[in-house]
Amino acid sequence: MTVQGTGANRWQRFAEWDARPLRLDRFAREDPEQGFSAMKSPKDPAPGVQVSGGRITGMDGVAEADFDMIDRFIATYHLDPAIAPEAMAIPALDLARMLVDMTVPRGTLTRLAQGLTPARLAEAVSHLSALEIAFAYSKMRARRVPGNQGHVTNAKDDPLQLAADAAVAVGLGFDEIETTQRVARNAWSNALACAVGASVGRWGTLFQCSSEEAEELRIAMAGFTSYAETVSVYGSEGAFIDGDDTPWSKAFLTAAYASRGVKMRCTSGAGAELLMGFHQSQSMLYLESRCLCLQRAMGVQGTQNGGIDGAPVTMSVQGGARELMAENLIAVWLDLECASGNDARPTESEIRVGAKIAPYLLAGSDLICSGFGSILKYDNSFNPSLLNGEELEEFLVLQRDFEADGGLTPLGEDKALDLRRRALDAISAVLEELDLARPTAAMRTSVAFASGSNETQSFTAGDASMMSAAIEARGIDVTDVIRALHKRGFVDEAQNLFNLVRLRLSGDYLQTSALIRGGRVISAVNDPNDYQGPGSGYRISAERRDEIGAIRDQISRTEVLRSQAIFEQAESRRVLYEAQGDADPGTATGEVVIGISPAFGIRIFQSLAGQPVSAMLDAVIRGIIGAGGTARVVRMHHTADTSFLGLCAAGLAGSGVGIGLQAKGTAVIHRQGRLPHHNLELFSNAPVTTLAHYGQLGANAAAYAFGRSPEPIVVPTGGIALGARFHAEVAMLYAVETGLCEDGAAPSELRVRFGKDAAA
């Protein structure tokens, strides 16, 4: 049934809400039995531990004889029987308070964590609000300086684009880059291309190629990658087996990576068990707490968690975002490096995206995103990230807004293009030298300028497969690539790539939370997070503050005055203002006085709407005359404020009605005797005010002068964030006006001449 005359059967706001991107997201009702519960389920066990004869004989309600594989591994390798009784005796609420108490050192808490069971860890963080979790996270994360990781992939597995995009990611400051492929067998060519691209500009960005477990290790052995991340673990035995591994196989793999001098972290996250159908009706947080205790037990230095591929399903549940933060907190409480998710895009709503990233940006993280999409969404072979190439500048601006270090640095246009070209030349040289492919100049050019693979005329996924097969079959390793770079004159790149591989010798970057800055390994060992309140922990240096602040296209007074000066000459041909001495009060009944601002046509020549100031004034005068009034123009020298311009003009007008007109376009109709800010009509939104509006303003002023009550003019704003677009310029222009003001100076009578003879 529709209501007659409207054609609608519902409040139309709901129809509008339906059309917003938010409504593409689906939300799930809480249902713990079916696994849809973020923080707490009736099936989560009560925390507890039994120690007997120096061994753990029971944990979280399960006796040793009934331990599943995960329980067994955690009880054997994570729980320290010497610490467990003491740690488990502390009530969860007290632990929660210690987490947010800045006077309790991080080390006290990480020691206790070695005796805490999965259920107790989950219970403790559940006492914290989202804000408290973020604060605790900033205190508990392992390394002091924050970092970030980016994805570098494309929809064609094109090695040229991979190299160019890797160079840009390095230029933006990503500490790690991660690639994967559309076609599984292209892993080798992807790895080689990214390794070459990441060697352009500076060295030290760690690089990984996500692939099948065994192949990933072989690629690392060939020296192309410097770390691995996608070593997944799960919180239930069923999910673990379906994931084709066990705690022992994954711990073995962890040792295998270290034995080859390759950094590694595991991956886990809320929602994985739910998606795999083995949730045991337990909460996402409890299951993830098991994953994290398991990872510490395996002796892996770090984790990628925070609902990685499971983030979207987690965010569908009430408290999902809070749960993701809570599981990251458990990770760092367990003294693991944390690449804190903010990875798979969990929403179509840009507001939810911004809200999701905010606490991490503020708190800092070892790697804020475990895959910021440095490339466009459609080129992301992992699926779109929370933040992508499209939104990268927004992240840079957020860093600047909050003066929070998100690990990235703005990159100028020329620098970006230089990096792309250098990377394209380097990868082309390597592909030729190793007889893998013959890239043409046209291919390189198309990639250099392309934002994404839809715009390139380059290699296809099929071409990449040929290269990949050849790299693998011929046993090409990173030393072959280093030699090829060197031979073709890419000596800096050869050195950069060599430096990265040489990190393996010392194993320094195998320690917790290691990354490379300025050619040095920085980790939780030599840069531990020492937060103990204001003045401690990570602080942005003056130099870093300048880096973060250097986003492109900032304006200052210089630019604003320069752009105004451009219009000065044209204005001098359109209008001439002849000062006639002090202005006297008028007597004519139909007279409206226009009070213009001090800089009007002297220093400021164009309004915020882009109109010549003379055109605004001309429109107002014509409006007054057209409505039967007479117009007189005076320039105010004692004020630039719209209200007082108008009120003073009204005081000089024979009719008692005046108009105040600022050079930037703000205008008011005022009447003698009214309070300053109680005007007749105000045009406060100068940027959207047209010349027609100024004409109507003049006409209405004349109408008021004759005692009529005209329909007020409403300038539609269209909902534009005028402040964001214009206020910086407004403040700069207005400062020019106030700079010309003189206390007590009398208004000047002006004779205004328009047209060709104006400059005479």
């Binding site: 320290d80 065994a214 072989r218 022992w248 040792a255 034995s259 230095q301 194993g507």
Partner: protein
């Protein structure tokens, strides 16, 4: 030799003279020039088991005993050929072994041929757990 501590980290800066590649070549001889000349290969760009044991000491002194244990297991694997590493990983995956004996056999090879005692014990523990949890079942 006394155990290293966090004060000796990073080893590349604090203890460079003690670092050798798996091949035995000292770190200072492993340069870009040597790679270009063809006198350095992947075996010279691999970590030595001694270095992993030193990193384990550093990890332990930094309060990370489980990380230290991983480095010690890793030290066991340094000299194990890649094929055997991959075979051991594969046999540990669910359903690959049909009985605990297959895992125990790999453990024996690791212990006898490569002196990888820690890793061998770890595999044997896995065999026992898999038996208990019924992992020796058909998967594909």
């Amino acid at each position: 030799m006394t155990a290293l501590s966090a004060a000796d980290y990073p080893m590349a800066e604090k203890r460079p003279e003690s670092i050798r590649a798996r091949s035995g070549k000292p770190m200072q001889d492993i340069t870009l020039e040597a790679v270009v000349a063809g006198s350095v290969g992947m075996a010279d760009l691999a970590i030595h088991s001694e270095t992993l044991l030193r990193q384990a000491e550093i990890a332990r002194s930094a309060g990370r005993p489980t990380l230290a244990q991983n480095f010690e297991r890793a030290a066991d694997l340094v000299e194990v050929p890649q094929d055997l590493v991959m075979r051991a990983y594969e046999i540990l995956r669910p359903g690959r072994a049909q009985s605990s004996a297959e895992i125990v056999a790999v453990a024996a090879t690791l212990r006898q041929a490569h002196g990888a005692n820690r890793i061998a014990a770890f595999l044997e523990e896995a065999a026992e757990v898999y038996e208990k949890r019924g992992l020796f079942r058909f998967r594909y």
